[in-house]
């Protein structure tokens, strides 16, 4: 028995999108003809590069929560844990196009890659230039020398922020693409799962994490991680996650980073802070300074118990773009 707030599981995505647009009507609107596309009220901006993303549902507030001023212009919404259609990506691209081209910044999943490829083909006929960046920040999903096989996880949020900020400066499509690529290249992420998630249409956990154990390196849909091991104390987990994401970061003492610690849906908020307490100490021990920290449910996986840690290495350009003003439902703001 699922203890969840659901109607017909087949309707959950439409209902989520509808409720989201109702709640955040000051910032976003539904595409007039495609109920699986959400568009910023500021979009399109003539002469500016549009920023688009999209992905499966069940990760709320990702992806649609990052639509807003100075972040993402339009988002394509898929079924739960399933890529949006090519049509939806194409409609999002069309909605975001202000005549200067559109950067599609998405995660490295086969379905998304193929649907973006198709969508790009569709809008090319209409003369819309598209550049893509494929996020691959999840270090546990493949070794470094096969980085193009790594999946995209919460680092995507920082990629969108940087890409959106660059677009807001009036940069060209190539410049926006380069900034977003630089952003995701500067990100390393790793997740830990303590309890699995249940897809509404399935009604039972779609993988297993035995009580007393945890899955280190878990993916955002429950993809198996690097290892299953006995559940340890929060501080040990924090240390381990930090090691996993820092191993490929070669940062001199005094360098700045941005940190994103996201709950996966059913993790109590206070425990995110328990972990963050230790993570920031670990960064300080490495001589690093946290320029900005985001702690909360930023990129979830339905009701999974777990977290994703993302550390982004900052230089002057990324810092300036990261700090640029923006507004989107998932970033809150009054």
């Amino acid at each position: 028995m699922m203890q969840r707030f659901l109607n017909d599981p087949d309707d959950v995505v439409d209902e989520t999108v509808r409720g989201f647009v109702k709640a955040h009507g000051a910032q976003v609107r539904l595409h007039p003809s495609n109920p699986r596309v959400v568009v910023s009220v500021d979009t399109p901006r003539a002469g500016r590069v549009g920023v688009v993303t999209g992905g499966g549902s069940g990760h709320e507030p990702a992806f649609l929560g990052y639509v807003g001023r100075g972040v993402v212009d339009a988002v394509a919404v898929g079924e739960i844990f399933s890529s949006p259609t090519a049509n939806s990506f194409a409609d999002a691209i069309r909605a975001a196009d202000g005549g200067a081209g559109v950067a599609v910044l998405f995660g490295n999943y086969a379905g998304d890659t193929m649907n973006v490829k198709l969508a790009t083909r569709m809008v090319a006929k209409e003369g819309i230039a598209v550049a893509t960046v494929i996020a691959n920040d999840d270090v546990s999903s493949a070794p470094l020398d096969e980085r193009d096989r790594r999946r995209g996880v919460a680092g995507e949020i920082l990629m969108w922020k940087i890409g959106g900020a660059k677009a807001a400066t009036g940069a060209t499509l190539e410049e926006v693409q380069a900034a977003a690529q630089k952003a995701i290249d500067a990100c390393r992420s790793g997740g830990v799962g303590l309890a699995p998630c249940t897809l509404p249409a399935v009604g039972q956990p779609n993988f297993t994490i035995a009580p007393g154990t945890m899955e280190v390196g878990i993916g955002h849909h429950g993809e198996p991680g690097m290892r299953i091991e006995p559940l340890r104390a929060a501080n040990d987990i924090a240390d381990d996650m930090l090691r996993i994401v820092m191993v490929e970061h070669d940062l001199p003492p005094g360098a700045s980073v941005a940190v994103l610690l996201s709950g996966l849906g059913a993790t109590p908020v206070n425990e995110l802070y328990v972990l963050y307490d230790r993570i920031e100490s670990g960064l300080a021990e490495r001589g690093l300074r946290v320029h900005r920290a985001l702690v909360g449910n930023y990129f979830t996986s339905l009701d999974m118990v777990g977290v994703t840690l993302t550390v982004m290495a900052l230089d002057a350009e990324l810092t300036a773009l990261l700090d640029m003003d923006c507004a989107a439902p998932a970033f809150g703001g009054w």
Partner: protein, 210 residues
Amino acid sequence: MALANRDLGAVVAELAAVIVAHKAWLSELDGRIGDGDHGANMAKGFARAADRVAGQDLTLGAALAILSDVLMGEIGGSMGPLYGVMFDDMAQALEGRDVIDIAAVDAMLKAALAGVQAMGNARVGDKTMIDTLAPAVAAFATHRDKGAEEALARMVAAAETGRDSTIGLVARLGRASRLGERSRGMLDAGAVSCCLILTALAGSLTKRLD
């Protein structure tokens, strides 16, 4: 073989009927090593396409183009683009043809394989629908001299062998690849649906030849 290329919309309806009838089975297979939605994804797309072609006098190419549109436009995941491109490229291979002859079927099948490979970059042995499609297309080409009925039968036999070969394979692409060795020992859902489609297509064409 020389089939007038009109009133063939029903072929898509026949493909759809087979897919819808196997919805639960396809999902169960996908559930073992994937996320369990293959049957639902496929049945939704094919049933909608069947609705759209119903009662229309269509060429095979036009009907396949409608099927492709529905899959690309309304079905996300991997199946939308993979089968979407497959049927789109099949439709394009038939463009301008008044009759469906052996050369047309051969061209159509080769286009299907090229389309899926271009979109998904899978190769034989990756444990995907390609393991069904590639040997089936090759078998038809090899046996086209033996006449349509025989060539189609060879194609179906090769599709079945290809489908069954996925049992012994480790998935290297798609969701099942997460499982590594644990994906061995199970049929691949896409290989099964692809075999169903090719078998139904062969049946629909053969039936109309008689």
